[in-house]
Amino acid sequence: MNYRTLWRKSVNAVMFSLTGLATVLTVSVLFFILGYLVWYGGRAINWDFFTKLPKPVGETGGGMANAIVGSVKLLLLATLTGVPIGFMGGVYLAEFGGKTFSFLLRYTTDLLNGVPSIVMGIFAYTMVVLPMKHFSTLAGGLALGVMMIPIAVRSTEEFLRTVPVTLREGALALGACKWKAITTVVIPAAIRGILTGIILDLARVAGETAPLLFTAFNNRFWSPGWNQPTASLPVMIFTYAIAPYEDWHRQAWAAGLVLLGLVLLTNITARVVLARKLSSAAG
């Protein structure tokens, strides 16, 4: 082996080791995050966290029951506003859409997906908070709802497209008109995939903080109804993490663990279900 070949071979080895190192570094970040949150959050979490209201500033103890309920309410509102638009838009793209309009719609959806979350917050602020003149659960839910639209559209469209044409043709051949074929055959065939996509979508907005800062704002007490500011887990993590109190930091870790646990669990389950679904559709 001459010198030149040796050089080329060593470059080959060195460069691929470096890329391997880059991969290891990137992957290890997740384990680092998980490790830290389980370590600090696990020590901080207790029953009070789930059942008690926050204590007044300066007292230790208390929990984030109101923030957990607040997050659930916000996500419920977001689902009610964002999913119908996204789902129907996706049905349009997969079943009815023409060429140019569909391309434009897909492009707009992608752009909407890339809008920074803080800008979505401003949008909900100008649409709801300004006319109502106060922060509310409604405004926060709307901000999250708009953020849910793009992924709901894309996952609905994608899964409707995985339904075999023969299934549609079968329904049409039996005399069903198009909308009947879609609602009774195509959508039921794709519904598991679509729902999984929407759950992933939900997991994504569940961790959003920026759009809630000046829409749902925050609240140290229960927030009855939909018309008042409400606490939510992500905003609580933010407020508690930057506060100067030791006990608040402890609770921020606990909240972080709960939020991350929920988000990752949903993601892993949904992705496994999707992978199995896709491989069974292919095979």
Binding site: V11, A22, G114, I118, C177, G256, L264
Partner: protein, 327 residues
């Protein structure tokens, strides 16, 4: 469809009208219309978003004009608003983030697409995509309690000793600052670069690799001189996408950037970004002009990210087209 509806009134073409009525009775046209309305709602939301940002920043736009972008005073008390410190902070932190994330992300993507066996590659990509799902406030939380102390006690003193002659690494080591924000951004955007770059690399036809290898290239040479150039546009697209993320990233940056609207040459110094100032000051903003100035910042951020995203999508689309054009 609309023209046929008009034709019902005039009724000159009975055949088409009957066909239309038949479809209407069976409900297809109605279903089409309903889904079309919802689909149009997506356009409406997007247009409304732009309109609201534009309308609600009118006061600031009229008062400051272009000066808004190069004035460096941000003084809510005297109602003087200049965005330069925030633009500076956003650009610098994103640049630092990209500088670290691009080699790391592209490197990992190359490994996953070219070297790793398919199953290992899929498993690792799964983990990396989970990273993209971690909420940004969690990154912020971790950064405050791990990254910032580490920077303050170890990394920054070390950089000062070794590279302290550069203006970039001077001044007191606070921990929080532009460097911390850039680092956390790097960690947050790597998953985007990896997952999209890997996809475009995998879309490169296998013949390209085989041809290079047959000519006697080593694996690395075939990757670096043939596959990567082939996927160049798509990789660039993934970088643009990551850049758009970095520019708009709010929570993690807000928590570690130091929140001080100053322009300084050192990366150790605290700074402020566009997204961070909106997050911090929006609820405290008193007076319409203040709010409008903040919304104008939001408009700037929106336009920046839209342009970057638009470009990125086109680039990625172009590579995929090219990749599939040679089966």
């Amino acid at each position: 469809m609309a023209s046929t509806a008009v034709a019902v009134g005039g009724a000159p073409r009975p055949g088409r009208v009957r066909a239309f009525l038949l479809r209407l009775r069976s409900g297809d046209e109605i279903a089409h219309l309903i889904t079309l309305i919802f689909a149009s709602a997506i356009f409406l939301v997007t247009v409304l978003l732009v309109f609201e940002l534009y309308r609600n920043s009118a006061l600031a736009r009229e008062k400051f004009g272009w000066q808004f972008f190069y004035s460096r005073t941000w003084d809510p008390v005297f109602e003087q608003f200049g965005a330069l410190p925030f633009i500076f902070g956003t650009v610098v932190t994103s640049a630092v983030g990209l500088l670290m994330a691009v080699p790391l992300g592209v490197g990992a993507a190359i490994f996953l697409a070219e070297m790793a066996p398919a199953r290992v590659s899929d498993a690792l990509t799964f983990v990396i995509e989970l990273l993209a799902a971690v909420p940004s406030v969690i990154y912020g939380l971790l950064a405050i309690f791990t990254l910032v102390p580490l920077l303050r006690t170890t990394v920054q003193p070390f950089l000062k000793r070794t590279l302290g002659f550069l203006p970039l690494f001077q001044g007191p080591a606070y921990g929080v600052g532009l460097l911390a924000a850039g680092l956390i951004l790097a960690i947050m955007i790597v998953p985007f670069i990896v997952s999209i770059s890997r996809e475009v690399l995998l879309a490169v036809p296998v013949e390209q690799r085989e041809a290079a290898l047959a000519l006697g290239a080593t694996r690395w040479e075939s990757t670096w001189k043939v596959v990567v150039p082939y996927a160049r546009a798509g990789i660039l697209g993934s970088i643009f996408l990551a850049m758009a993320r970095a520019l708009g990233e709010t929570m993690a940056v807000t928590m570690v950037i130091g929140n001080d609207p100053k322009i300084s040459s050192s990366l150790f110094a605290p700074g402020y970004s566009i997204a961070a100032v909106i997050a911090n000051e929006f609820t405290e903003a008193t007076g319409d002009l203040y709010v409008h100035a903040l919304i104008e910042l939001g408009l700037v951020l929106f336009i920046l990210t839209i342009v970057l995203n638009g470009l990125a999508r086109l680039l990625i689309l172009a590579t995929h087209r090219k990749g599939t054009a040679h089966p």
